[in-house]
């Protein structure tokens, strides 16, 4: 089973304080630490477990620049056999559709049985996987929480839906799946592992290598553009209770009683 995992390098929300910059039109980027998008990491672990059982190898790809190589190395240290950087100035400023276009061109140069993405990244868009599938005319399933390889080029996948319920589907290979966190327990990748792959060369493919029409990607082709970042309006917000803890507790109990709680 040849598996491709599409990964993205994002600012880690738990290790960064996301704040607006002084101009108020972007976030403060000086002090950010980046890492691989968490759901993508779960996807790589899942891919590794599948090839452990069914044979094959895992390839990790990302659309970006030199800075993004570090996540490819990390996933290689985790066990992915191949890593590819898809990089070209023409790709910069792509919207989700543009990114999916680049990935599609890469997929068509190779032979993958299964393509995995994380369910969503820092922008919460959750779009590239589904778009890529449609471009390739592969079936797609999102929010996948378990994968079982069934004979005859099929998978049985479980999707997370409301109420904690699970929707079980059968899906034909080749297909695209977007992976939800919690699907497995990713193995640890230590500093030593990363050091061991530090000098492995990572092939870079540009627009020409991929046969991508510059007119379909990048900022110019993007139909959806982010204009700026701003602080979410506070609105009415909560009424903050004041006073000592005892006073606040008493106020709270009063309010809860009034609202119909508390016997």
């Amino acid at each position: 089973m040849e598996i491709l995992v599409c990964a993205k390098r994002v600012p880690d929300t738990s290790e960064n304080e996301i704040e607006l910059n002084r101009a108020g039109n972007d976030i403060q980027r000086d002090d950010l630490v980046y890492s691989v998008n968490e759901p993508d990491n779960y996807a790589v672990e899942e891919a590794l477990q599948i090839v452990d059982r069914a044979g094959g190898s895992v390839t990790v790809a990302t659309v970006g620049g030199e800075d993004d190589e570090e996540i490819l190395r990390r996933e290689m240290a985790m066990g992915a056999k191949n890593a590819v950087l898809l990089s070209d100035e023409a790709f910069q400023g792509s919207d989700g559709r543009g990114t999916a276009t680049v990935l599609k061109a890469f997929v068509q140069k190779r032979n993958f049985d299964l393509i995995l993405t994380g369910v969503q990244a820092d922008d919460g868009a959750a779009q590239v996987g589904g778009m890529l599938a449609a471009m390739l005319d592969y079936p797609f399933a999102s929010l996948v929480t378990s994968i079982e390889v069934v004979e005859g080029r099929k998978l049985k996948v479980s999707r997370e839906i409301e109420g904690g319920n699970k929707e079980i589907n059968e899906i034909d290979l080749p297909c695209v799946l977007s992976i939800q966190t919690g699907i497995n327990e990713p193995r640890y990748v230590g500093m030593r592992g990363i050091r061991q792959v530090a000098s492995v060369p990572i092939p870079t493919l540009d627009a020409a290598d991929l046969g991508v029409d510059a007119g379909h990607v990048g900022e110019r082709a993007a139909k959806v553009k982010r204009v700026d970042y701003f602080a979410p309006p506070v609105g009415k917000g909560a009424e903050m209770l004041e006073g000592s803890r005892e006073e606040r507790i008493d106020q709270l109990i009063e309010l809860v009683r009034a609202k119909g709680g508390l016997k």
């Binding site: 589904g130 449609a134 079980i168 917000g237 903050m240 709270l252 119909g260 508390l262």
Partner: protein, 324 residues
């Protein structure tokens, strides 16, 4: 201005809240237009849903096919492609189904796609101006979408308040589903989550805990408060991921939907996935160490404090007052 369609989610003949929300959102795109509802399904359930739509949507397209009895995104996509004219704007709720359906659909329709929209500012020429959030809701972003070849827009559930609908007598049109054979993805079954010993959807008071509870042993602190208040303990996703409570206690878009009278969010940051599980406009109290936690934006009352100290003291006080 392209024609606006709204994809209707329904279950067992009952409309999902998003049906009304999409109507409101459509009004923000083009107040002059009356959007067309599109509903797929089969049998009496679809019939009932479409009937229910008649009081709010002027035009309803009903796509009935046995293969659509359970909403399989692959098949729904095919059916929609069959009937929705190119260049239209299609609104879909951003839930587990919308995430499955829309990205691919937008590619098939060659239309722009914007996910998880919170607010719509309006159209200028061919640019639709929207508001989204990024980084787990920590910042908002203005987004511009080129709708010259149409667009698929996923609307965040709960972001748009339903407007008082002008009573209409909607017209239902039966639309062809087209060829739905040869699906490469097939629905098998739904495994219902095990209900634990406590059904949080039935409680009026919920003491809900998040990552701020810090450790499994501390869950007992929340239980004591819930007992004193006569309620139950629920939680957000991280608590379930850490295996401190069972899945049946999770409130959120991938957990349970609850409609209590009082909701105490203790040590919960307030991600929208969690808030999506709270319906019915309860009295929300937020207790959190971090004064900048997003939960304070949606709570009615807020307290900045350490829940591990606040909760036990509150429990004692409640018991004191009860014995008095």
């Amino acid at each position: 201005m392209p024609r606006i369609f709204a994809y209707i989610v329904h279950k067992a003949g009952v409309l999902d809240d998003s049906a009304a929300e999409l109507l409101a959102a459509a009004g923000r795109i083009d107040a002059a237009q009356s959007p067309t509802a599109v509903a797929t399904g089969w049998g009496t359930e679809l019939d009932a849903a479409c009937e229910a739509l008649r009081s709010s949507y002027a035009e309803i397209w009903k796509i009935a096919h046995e293969a659509l009895a359970y909403p399989n995104a692959e098949l729904v996509r095919k059916a929609l492609l069959n009937v929705v004219p190119k260049g239209s704007i299609l609104l879909v709720p951003h839930n587990h189904f919308g995430v499955d359906l829309s990205p691919g659909l937008s590619v098939n329709m060659n239309a722009a796609f914007v996910p998880d929209v919170l607010d719509i500012e309006g159209v200028t020429g061919t640019a639709l101006k929207l508001v989204r959030q990024e980084f787990g809701g920590q910042v908002s972003a203005h987004v511009r979408c080129d709708i010259s070849s149409g667009s698929v827009i996923n609307i965040r559930p709960g972001a748009f308040k339903p407007v008082d609908s002008v009573q209409v007598a909607g017209q239902i049109s039966e639309m062809p589903a087209g060829n739905l054979g040869g699906a490469k993805r097939r629905y098998l079954e739904t495994v219902v989550a095990e209900t634990g010993d406590v059904d949080i959807t039935k409680h009026q008071i919920l003491v809900s805990i998040g990552r701020g509870i810090q450790e499994k042993e501390n869950v007992a602190i929340a239980q004591e408060l819930a007992d004193a208040l006569g309620g139950a303990v629920s939680c957000s996703r991280p608590v379930v991921d850490a295996k401190w409570l069972e899945k049946s206690r999770q409130v959120g878009s991938s957990g349970q939907t609850v409609k209590p009278k009082v909701y105490l969010a203790c040590g919960i940051s307030g991600s929208f996935q969690h808030l999506a599980g709270i319906k019915g406009n309860p009295f929300i109290v937020a207790i959190n160490k971090n004064p900048k936690a997003p939960i304070f934006r949606v709570a009615d009352v807020g307290i900045v404090d350490d829940i591990l100290e606040f909760m036990p003291e509150m429990t004692n006080r409640v018991k004191e007052l009860q014995h008095a």
